[in-house]
């Protein structure tokens, strides 16, 4: 009986105290005919040692490749101290800090996190996390619509240069409430938004414009202009940004004349491992006037009976356990431990370290881009500045190219040909501070060799038919 501490004697005594004769009897209120008779095949139990064998072999299958994929999840160096401390039992096995006095560790950490994240976004306040970047964006949109009750618009401009899966998630979530999402195409030459296109979409009133920085294609938007434009339309600016980049790039609160109103995004780059896509966490910051519409947990500083500083969950009147059907969100369990890791990460890096990492990632990307586009047939798709990701067009099927690269232990990037078919065979390539000059050269050589291989005709048949990629 793994993890159950009862000895035979304990069981006997406990049953006697309850005054029943068997454990079975405790289930007597469940209608007998509903009881499971013969549960379908679930494997036999494994000891930790046996499990270790199994899982090591599974982990082995997925490992050992050099990764140039980004597309919303980024490989950065994570200092060992981050998880050594976040993984301490006291952080990892605590519940939500409802009993504040017994949770000062988590609460103070969250207050420190809120301070760091709000400051990184150059906004006033931050909540204590959402599920991930995509749901944070959905919640930001719901927030914007609630805030826009005056003009009653529930139209949101959601550019197509926002992460395609973020857009899908937003659609799943916000359309339940009848919110209208308007797709804004990006400029084919720059891979960025243009005011002309935006103007065309605004014959009707809008509640908000979502501004990505960098956008999904890696490109840097003209955030000042965009923010001022949406404010002129009396609507809100919602920033969706890579927090790592914000140590280098102008932060949402600094955009345009008044700053973005809400900033959200994926916290993963700050100390969270790739881990097949989760658990990550979404961050959500806003101007202080919008505080009461903020979803999710928020920690506040207060004092105890003796006037000593302490921390509690606050503004709980917004939350589902108090406000129930009228809550700002249904979120309860969030992504606390990831926030702990990020807080430790940001503390280790400091403003200087974070900026250095953003900068070197950017520089590595420029280096790689130059080398890749020197390969015959490879072109850079968009012109203009990018952060640490860029789009190239290749003269063969992207799917074929990626499978060939995988054979030389290389993960070549994200296949854009399905999300943006009008771009053609395009690949979104990312590089961070984790890659050395040799890694970069290795990739360049591998791609060059894949592309120089003769047999174009077999591009299609080389694919394993039933093994589909994400999109």
């Amino acid at each position: 009986m793994p993890f159950i501490p009862h000895s035979a004697n304990d069981i006997k005594e406990m049953l006697a105290t309850i005054d029943v004769t068997s454990i079975e009897q405790l289930f007597e209120e469940i209608p007998a005919h509903l009881r499971v008779k013969n549960m379908p095949a679930i494997p036999e139990s494994l000891t930790e040692m046996e499990l270790g064998r199994l899982m090591r072999s599974r982990a082995e299958q997925d490992s050992g490749l050099l990764c140039f994929i980004g597309a919303g999840a980024y490989e950065h160096h994570i200092p060992a101290a981050v998880w050594h401390i976040a993984g301490r039992g006291e952080f990892m096995t605590a519940y939500t800090p409802y009993q504040a006095e017994a949770s000062q560790g988590t609460l103070q950490l969250l207050y420190e996190y809120q301070t760091m994240m709000a400051s990184l976004m150059a906004l006033d306040i931050s909540n204590a996390s959402m599920y991930d970047g995509a749901t944070a964006l959905a919640e930001a949109i719901l927030m914007a619509v609630r805030l826009n009750r005056k003009n009653k618009s529930n139209r949101i401009l959601l550019p197509s240069c926002v992460h395609p899966f973020y857009r899908e998630v937003v659609k799943t979530i916000v359309t339940q409430q009848g919110i209208e999402l308007v797709d804004v195409p990006f400029d084919e030459k720059t891979g960025r938004l243009s005011i002309e296109t935006l103007e065309k979409m605004t014959h009707e009133e809008i509640a908000a414009l979502v501004i990505p920085q960098p956008n999904f294609l890696g490109m840097l938007e003209e955030v000042d202009t965009l923010t001022d434009w949406v404010h002129a339309k009396k609507a809100l600016a919602i920033a969706v940004v890579n927090p790592m980049a914000m140590a280098l790039l102008k932060a949402p609160g600094q955009w345009g004349h008044a700053g973005a109103d809400i900033a959200c995004g994926e916290g993963q780059p700050l100390g969270v491992p790739l881990s097949s896509g989760g658990p990550y966490y979404g961050f959500l910051c806003c101007k202080k006037e919008l505080a009461r519409q903020l979803p999710g947990r928020v920690v506040g500083r207060t004092v105890d009976l003796e006037g000593k500083q302490g921390f509690v969950l606050t503004m709980q009147a917004r939350e589902q356990h108090i406000r129930r059907a009228k809550a700002t969100s249904n979120i309860c369990t969030n992504q606390g431990l990831l926030v702990a890791a990020s807080t430790i990460y940001m503390s280790l890096m400091g403003p200087h370290g974070l900026r250095q990492i953003a900068l070197i990632s950017h520089q590595n990307a420029e280096l790689l881009q130059k080398k890749l586009t020197a390969i015959k047939g490879v072109e850079l798709v968009f012109e203009g500045p990018y952060f640490h990701e860029f789009v190239i067009r290749v003269p063969r099927s992207v799917e074929f190219v990626l499978h060939q690269l995988a054979k030389s232990k290389m993960q070549g990037g994200f296949d854009l040909s399905k999300a943006y078919p009008h771009l053609g065979e395009c690949l979104l390539v990312c590089v961070t501070e984790t890659k050395t000059a040799e890694d970069i050269d290795k990739f360049v050589t591998a791609l060059a060799s894949v592309l120089s291989c003769e047999d174009h005709s077999r591009d299609k048949t080389e694919k394993t038919e039933h093994v589909r990629t994400y999109l």
Binding site: E44, T135, E266, R324
Partner: protein, 484 residues
């Protein structure tokens, strides 16, 4: 308590070993896109970081250090082996957009977990993507809507929710654009059938139920409820927060539920992490399978791959940027494998034994059970309304005083319909000795309340802070530190 980390900050300091060297500072990014101030991140050394956060951690209660009988939260032991294996580099460094041929290790685990969850819930389809219970609820209610819409049944605008329900239930229904109708509870803790019959009708999209309910008792009329709702054309949502109580004993699918979520961070022992992450897979009966959120893992011959909206055009869509809390899914999978079939039944058995034992002890000591005639499920409620009246101490006071006894407090003031209540869930991984000590502590506290009531009313006394002023916190919002 520790000072804020910002107080340790010192300009020009950082954890040097973590920062790439030799970075050229010039950049091609136009200067109007660059930041020209520094965010308020602390400037501290690596030792300072380690020491600060190590010390902070020590100001927490946790399963690893205390008994944590937090009702409805299932604070059981989180096996260390699982954590260690989930941290294998092959899992940690795996990119969500890795090609399927480079993802078979992870995909096989996710696929097998889907199968295991179908088996223990008695359902036909599972999607692992929801990232917590509340998101599972969202997915479930959205599927209910999608189901009705697919049948062109567009009039169903109401979701029924018992008054004992967790706040996420009504909040979710509302977030999905439904109106919420509350159903009262009868004296024995069951849903009041008459009231149910009254509200149910052509506007009813569905009902959300927890069973055993958050009152700590098994809903005995479940089959009747199912037939009332089904006959009215509604569907039944099962809030799986209390699945621990019945794992392997009775299955939501067999009780008549159409859709449910499973809190992996409760029943499947993934660590709560001070508030998260969790996992909230949804399981559905045959008729809701087409609507499951994407992606799902499928298998063809010996290869695993992702199913997406292409193959499942009726899906409600995606709920996360990638595929949900993959690392948590991995952990839940491992836990299920460690337990095996027998182990799962034992979870329910010993969780129930512990709850009923502790309840029996407390009743014998004079405490008032909210539902004295009922078997406890894996949790139970005591109400301190008598103590509150006679001794002027509240459930809050008792909860805070328990902290001084080195026990985490039970859930308090939930469910809302029981006055001065403590919802106590010991879980199966706690020993009899711990339960005995906890009962003794509660008995002592009531004694203290008689002799030195202020001791209880001003508790806690032994932690890093005394009782905190929540009202001040809410009135004078101080949510970020500002340098003076």
């Amino acid at each position: 308590m520790s000072e804020l980390i910002f107080k340790l900050s010192h300009h020009g300091r950082c954890a040097t070993a973590q920062i790439p060297r030799h970075v050229a500072q010039k950049t091609t990014i136009p200067s109007h896109l660059l930041r020209n101030d520094e965010p308020l991140l602390p400037e501290v050394s690596e030792l300072q970081v380690v020491r600060h956060f190590t010390k902070l951690s020590r100001a927490n209660f946790s399963i690893d250090t205390q008994f944590y009988p937090l009702g409805s939260c299932t604070m059981k032991y989180n096996p260390r082996g699982i954590h260690q294996l989930a941290m294998l580099e092959g899992f940690l460094n795996h990119h969500p957009f890795s090609l399927p041929i480079n993802s078979q290790g992870y995909l096989s685990c996710a696929y097998e977990l889907q199968e295991i969850l179908k088996a223990v819930t008695g359902m036909r389809g599972v999607s692992l993507t929801p990232m917590a219970g509340a998101q599972g609820e969202f997915a479930g209610v959205a599927m209910i809507r999608a189901y009705h819409h697919a049948r062109s049944d567009l009039t169903r605008t109401e979701i029924l929710v018992p008054d004992a329900a967790h706040g996420t239930n009504p909040a979710t229904a509302a977030q999905c654009g439904f109106e919420v109708r509350e159903i009262p509870t009868d004296k024995e803790g069951n849903v009041d059938l008459d009231s149910l019959r009254k509200v149910v009708g052509p506007k009813t999209a569905g009902i959300m139920l927890t069973n055993p309910s958050t009152l700590g008792v098994f809903e005995q009329n479940i089959e009747e409820i199912a037939s009332i709702v089904h006959e009215a054309g509604g569907l039944l949502y099962y809030d799986g927060a209390n699945l621990n109580a019945i794992l392997g004993k009775v299955r939501p699918g067999d009780m008549g539920f159409d859709v449910m979520h499973i809190n992996l961070h409760k029943t499947f022992a993934t660590p709560h992490g001070g508030g998260g992450p969790g996992g909230g897979p949804v399981a559905v009966s045959e008729r809701l399978v087409p609507f499951l959120p994407m992606p799902i893992v499928a298998k063809k011959e010996e290869t695993y791959y992702w199913l997406t909206g292409k193959e499942c055009p009726q899906t409600i869509g995606r709920l996360s940027a990638f595929m949900g809390n993959a690392g948590i899914i991995l952990r839940a999978y491992m836990y299920a494998r460690m337990l095996g079939k027998e182990g799962m039944e034992r979870v329910a058995e010993f969780a129930t034994l512990n709850a009923n034992y502790l309840l029996a002890k407390l009743k014998a000591a004079g405490f008032t059970a909210a539902y004295a005639n009922r078997r406890a499920s894996h949790e139970f409620i005591i109400t301190l309304k008598i103590e509150a009246k006679e001794l002027q101490i509240t459930a809050l006071d008792v909860a805070k005083r328990l902290l001084d006894y080195d026990f985490h407090a039970p859930t308090m003031y939930f469910p809302l319909l029981v006055p001065e209540c403590l919802l106590i869930e010991p879980t199966e991984t706690e020993s009899k000795e711990v339960l005995d000590a906890f009962a003794d502590a509660l008995i002592c506290i009531v004694q203290e309340a008689k002799i030195k009531p202020d001791l209880v009313r001003t508790a806690p006394h032994t932690l890093s802070v005394r009782r905190l002023d929540e009202v001040k916190a809410a009135r004078e919002l101080d949510l970020v530190y500002k340098e003076k």
